[in-house]
């Protein structure tokens, strides 16, 4: 198990050197899944057969001296929001329970071309909406460090499966913190790339202008390798950046001398737990000991980040999720019972009202069968959080409210980005906490959506501005729960982020700690 669990980079090197076969490594992952996933519940679907076949194929080609890809034989888990050809892709929703895409997402295609071995699809908040993975239509995923706590979300399955050593690494997606926050809560490394750095083609959209896929790994070194495999321009995604992707692994060891770290004054206020604050301050001291210089900066509009995000993301989502209407794919309500319902409503309308004009009006107000088909399908197919956001976005875009909410939010979004631009005039990276606190208990915030939204305080602004961010483990609470440190960089400076994180991980061992699931 050793080489599978500690580092994907080392596993790749061991595979290349013939010290382990891909079949053995894959088998080890499947065994571990078998052993612990009953408790963690990270996987929605394990494709043992497909994974073993892919592993055997890589081993065969390698033994024949044929060329193999960058990630040859290394197993990986995918958030179940990336389309996999011929394999169900549910987005954690009942709506897509039986949806089987006829195509691969570009990220998936690149992983296959790199000869990665896909173990299966992991759990998430429905359509990536949430921060705890409790919004999955199937089951909540547990935090491997404390099974009574949430793993974070929406990429909770991706974080938990890596933390619990069921996969050496995984792919998550991040719309407002959905890679970085679960990485922080599960004690792993999670990188949200610059918007446009990784293709969104085949990544089922939540909020198109904010979504990015990225690596979830044990270390920055692994994140560099995985990002190298999935980054790059994609002609199928018009918002993909036509900017060459560097070889991130080759730049990891460049020196950090003179690195200017921006400490965001606004981050240290009410709501930040003292344990998280202490761990972050200690991490800053470590960076200073490595030769970095800290500069106090301000992102004056970051306090509006949550409000801005919770307008823009639901607006885009309300439109992106309109396609789930029971016509061309996905769930459809039971038609006979729908028609019976309409008939009953018609009778009731006719019976309840004495005069015929009023009865006629009451009947006319009843949905047509098609409208009712849509409404029942969506009511039955979506969970509460998705409905909440679809309603919110529909409201904010509707006649009379567009300027006050959506347009206003786009303008504040510009102010938030301007803050970043100004800050990066003076600093190379911004450093701070990933989350205000460590993992909370399952169910603790389930009935308070607004409280749940406020958790995204430190992460949403990077999505709004489009800049990259990484979360790395930097400490532990008294109760033994991981704490995450967030670094943010200017657009397309993932190398700088990874280099700083890698340097930190060379002198700390938080990223090497593993939960005890024995």
């Amino acid at each position: 198990m050793g080489s599978v669990s500690t580092s994907a980079t080392r596993l790749r090197d061991d595979l290349a050197a013939g010290r382990i076969s891909s079949v053995e490594a894959t088998r080890a992952c499947l065994d571990r899944i078998h052993q612990v996933d009953g408790r963690v519940q990270a996987f929605l679907r394990v494709d043992a057969e497909g994974a073993m076949a892919a592993a055997a194929d890589v081993d065969r080609r390698r033994s024949q001296g044929l060329p193999v890809g960058l990630l040859a034989g290394v197993p990986i888990a995918l958030k179940d929001i990336l389309c996999t050809r011929g394999q169900p892709t549910t987005c954690g929703s009942k709506m897509l329970e039986r949806f089987v895409p006829p195509y691969d997402a570009t990220v998936v295609r690149k992983l296959r071309e790199a000869d990665a071995v896909i173990l299966g699809k992991v759990n998430l908040d429905e359509f990536a909406m949430g921060g705890s993975t409790e919004n999955s239509a199937y089951f909540p995923t547990r935090n491997p460090w404390d099974l009574e706590r949430v793993p974070g979300g929406s990429s909770g399955g991706s974080a938990a499966c890596v933390a619990a050593e069921m996969a050496p690494w995984s792919i998550g997606t991040d719309t407002g913190g959905s890679i970085r926050q679960p990485a922080a809560l599960c004690g792993i490394t999670g990188l949200k790339p610059t918007y446009g750095r990784v293709s969104r083609f085949g990544l089922v959209a939540f909020a198109s202008s904010l979504d990015q896929a990225g690596p979830m790994t044990h270390s920055a070194e692994d994140a560099a390798l995985l990002l190298e495999a999935i980054a790059g321009h994609d002609p199928l995604d018009a918002t993909s950046a036509d900017v060459p992707a560097p070889r991130y692994t080759a730049e990891l060891d460049k020196p950090l001398d003179g690195l200017r770290l921006g400490l965001v004054r606004d981050h240290y206020g009410a709501g930040l737990s003292s344990e998280v604050e202490a761990a972050v301050r200690e991490a800053v001291r470590i960076f200073e000991s490595l030769g970095a210089r800290t500069v106090d900066i301000s992102l004056p509009h970051s306090k509006y980040g949550i409000a801005t995000y919770y307008v823009i993301a639901p607006c885009e989502a309300s439109s992106n999720l309109a396609r789930y209407d029971g016509v061309h794919f996905g769930y459809r309500t039971d038609e006979p019972s729908m028609l019976a319902e309409l008939e009953a409503e018609r009778r009731a309308a006719l019976a309840s009202s004495g005069d015929s004009a009023r009865a006629e009006a009451a009947v006319a107000a009843i949905d047509s069968p098609l409208v009712r088909l849509y409404r029942r399908t969506r009511a039955e197919g979506f969970g509460p959080e998705v409905k909440r956001r679809v309603m919110l976005g529909t409201y904010a875009l509707s006649a009379g409210y567009y300027d006050a909410y959506y347009l206003k939010a786009l303008k504040v979004r510009r102010l938030i980005r301007n803050d970043y631009d100004a800050a990066f005039e003076n600093v190379d990276l911004i450093i701070g906490p990933t989350t205000p606190a460590a993992a909370y208990r399952l169910g603790e915030k389930a009935n308070d959506p607004l409280a749940m939204y406020l958790e995204d305080l430190y992460t949403v602004t990077a999505n709004l501005a489009g800049v990259p961010g990484i979360s790395i483990p930097c400490g532990s609470t008294a109760a033994g729960l991981p704490i995450g440190l967030q670094l943010q960089a200017p657009a397309f400076q993932e190398s700088r982020l990874l280099r700083a994180a890698h340097r930190f991980q060379r002198v700390t061992d938080w990223h090497l700690r593993r939960p005890d699931l024995s």
Partner: protein, 96 residues
Amino acid sequence: MALSRADVEKVSLLARLQLGPAELDRLTGELGRIVDFVEQLSELETREIAPLAHALDVANVFADDVVKPSLPRDEALANAPKRDDECYRVPAVLGE
């Protein structure tokens, strides 16, 4: 701007969601609190600020006008909840 139950009901039709009375009540409260929270944006003076709809400053992204193979029909229709050999099927759309 207070959000009324009637507003929520109207939005539920726009969003094509069927909501029961209890759900309508709950959402009226929840959405109202979120909308109140979002109201803080109105503190900011933004008259001169250009909206930012795309995080990445790209323009003029085009594809060449070259036909590529479509999906075989069976594959295209494979995910349809109701279909025949050729088409998707829905309740009659006459007069909608």
